[in-house]
């Protein structure tokens, strides 16, 4: 009876990044209360410092053997550690852009940074979650912080609308996910991913057990697709991207995608890997629909945030294609695509924020008119970002698409690869539209760039990385495969 209840403190080191981050959150939250107006920047620097230390702690854990602690609900492996480092790093970059946006729009509040840290904690819990319960709790921590972040601009009607839409649809998605989890638990008798994997891998499963597993699986796939924003569960994406303050859009369109993919890997690849034949069909349909709809509907957008939302949907389609293949190289290509997508999307939203000034949202494509004359450097950066998103070599976006398509073709789905390429070509039209308005049109109103030096520097590095990483993509691809 006694050994039924175990709590081993000697293994807590595996969760050190999470433990540190939670402590840092509490410190930042409390300290922010006592800071008077001229010292508010301290909150920002402390947030960056906490993220940096979290990243270092997570980096030190890379290479540790797979460790499962907290009675099977937490896993430390290379995937978790590498994802944590990437998430902390990209959140830090996002915060550099965010600070400029918040000061220009008078939204600078300590709570903003605390909520970003909390969503970071939720994402870390998700990538390390090894039971259905912890995965769900991590997802809720992430979602609740994001809802609040969107609504933080509470005097904007659009932001409140976006927050409510996201909240209601997110709650429905969580409900579906939980329902699926309850079915899986009901039939397998466990919420631990390891136990579920052994159960699903059993070849002597009765047909009734298969039926329930499948039933639960469908709900899990729907819940995950909702969070990723894959068609036909994409309805919230454009409205939320457009309505939310740009700094929040940038954050929620980038870093949480790593966590969502990690959740997908944990539940579907680690847990239900034996049922790949069942879920890959669902994924194939969703992937093709996402690529098609994302590429076609984006053609008609005039709002660049909305356009990027549809472009996200089509990128998600490519990521899902990587999981259709069912081989480790395919999963690796999908992870590589996510990381590349984050690099590009972060830079694209950074450019939008760069053009923001005192209460003015530069979120129309026409706001980019004549940028090449005013600031040739940043116009060049935007050119690189857009070409990379469209998948033009030698930029990194090309290799991301190439690796996915290679795996799709070697898995034998040639028709699907052809369809994906056709839509990728169609989608390049709207990316080039931005380039056209930057280089060949005159600006209607004055462009002024008020961004501080650190933001300009980080944004330039971010955009240059798109080219530099594209010159030697093999290293990153090998890294992405190595985590499986």
């Amino acid at each position: 009876m006694n050994n039924m209840y175990t709590f081993d403190t000697s293994t807590l080191w595996a969760a050190l990044p999470e433990i540190f981050l939670l402590s840092a959150i509490v410190v930042v939250l409390l300290l922010d209360l006592f800071l008077t107006k001229p010292f508010k920047q301290v909150t920002y620097y402390l947030t960056q410092l906490s993220l940096l230390i979290t990243a270092i702690l997570a980096f030190n854990l890379i290479g540790e053997p797979k460790t499962i602690i907290f009675s099977g609900s937490f896993v430390l492996d290379n995937m978790a550690s590498i994802f944590k480092v990437f998430m902390a790093g990209s959140t830090m970059v996002a915060l550099v852009y965010t600070r400029h946006y918040l000061t220009e729009h008078k939204l600078f509040r300590g709570e903003y940074f605390v909520l970003v840290l909390l969503s970071m904690l939720g994402m870390m819990v998700m990538v390390s979650g090894y039971s259905l319960l912890t995965l769900y709790l991590g997802l809720e921590i992430l979602s609740l912080s994001l809802y609040t972040l969107i609504a933080i601009a509470r005097e904007r009607a659009g932001a409140i609308e976006a927050a409510l839409k996201y909240f209601v649809l997110g709650a429905i998605a969580s409900g579906l996910l939980l329902y699926g989890m309850s079915m899986i638990y009901g039939i397998s008798g466990s919420i631990n991913i390891t136990d579920i994997a052994t159960f699903a891998d059993n070849s002597t499963l009765a047909s009734r057990e298969m039926l329930i597993l499948n039933f639960g699986l469908v709900f899990l796939v729907i819940g995950i697709a909702f969070k990723l924003g894959a068609v036909p569960f994409h309805m919230w994406v454009p409205d939320v991207y457009q309505g939310a303050p740009t700094s929040v859009t940038m954050f929620l369109s980038t870093v949480p995608k790593i966590a969502a993919v990690a959740m997908l890997v944990r539940i579907l690849v680690d847990g239900m890997g034996a049922m790949h034949d069942y879920w890959s069909d669902l994924f194939m349909v969703m992937a093709l629909l996402s690529i098609a709809l994302g590429s076609v509907v984006a053609l008609m957008q005039t709002n660049i945030k909305r356009m990027l939302a549809y472009s996200t949907i089509s990128h998600i389609g490519f990521i899902l294609l990587g999981f259709v293949t069912g081989v480790v190289e395919g999963y690796g290509a999908a992870v590589f695509y996510v990381l590349v997508y984050i690099l590009m999307s972060m830079a694209a939203f950074g450019m939008i924020i760069l053009l923001n000034k005192q209460g003015f949202e530069a979120d129309k494509i026409s706001d980019f008119k004549g940028l090449s004359k005013h600031s040739p450097w940043f116009a060049l950066m935007m050119l690189a970002i857009m070409l990379s998103m469209a998948g033009v070599p030698p930029f990194i976006g090309f290799y991301a698409k190439l690796f996915i398509l290679q795996q799709v073709i070697s898995a034998g789905f040639i028709t699907i690869a052809v369809i994906a390429v056709v839509f990728a070509v169609i989608s390049s039209y709207y990316y080039l539209q931005v380039v056209k308005s930057m280089y060949f049109e005159d600006s209607d109103n004055e462009i002024t760039i008020t961004a501080p030096m650190d933001m300009k520097l980080i944004l330039s590095i971010n955009a240059v990385l798109i080219l530099v990483v594209g010159l030697f993509p093999d290293f990153w691809m090998k890294l992405s495969i190595s985590i499986f």
Partner: protein, 203 residues
Amino acid sequence: MSSEQIIFYILSFWFIASSLAMIFARNAAKAVLFLVLGFFSAASIWILLEAEFLAITLILVYVGAVMVLFLFVIKMLNIDKSTMRAKFAEYLPLGLIVALIIIAEMILVLGSAQFGLEVMPSPARHGADYSNITVLAMQLYTTYVYPFELAAVILLIAIIAAITLVHKKETTHKKQNVSEQVNVRAKDRVRLVSIVSPTKEEK
């Protein structure tokens, strides 16, 4: 059929009936009351499962606190029903089709062939000295300590979110500065003016 099964079916019937009544109730306050009835039935089913602590928590927390708060909010808000129902007929056909398909599928999958007593026997009964709360507490603070802490983080977010979204920095009322009031001295407030009273001769 054992007496336990009969009780289970009665409670389940009330659970489903009150849930349906809650959805179809035209009056929001009535809907809340039906939800309360639903919670009671669910709690009773938990008692049948020997999960006393959960049952009591459901009633104390959800019925006692959350639903009462709901009632207050509903009574205070002036909900315009006509705008809520405006799009109802428009979406009804599609919604109905989707709902029917899902219900049909669920009936096919979740029938007694999958979850009946023959394939999933009811758990063994515990003796009178068995304490549900002790076992739950032991589990929560050992096996499930990590999810338990995460749930605490969610509560922290709820607090931060509520205050962030509702709190207004600009105060619209004037308040007293107590320390200033206490430290005030007579010479700050009262000015003594010496007035020479007129004499008889001047009159």
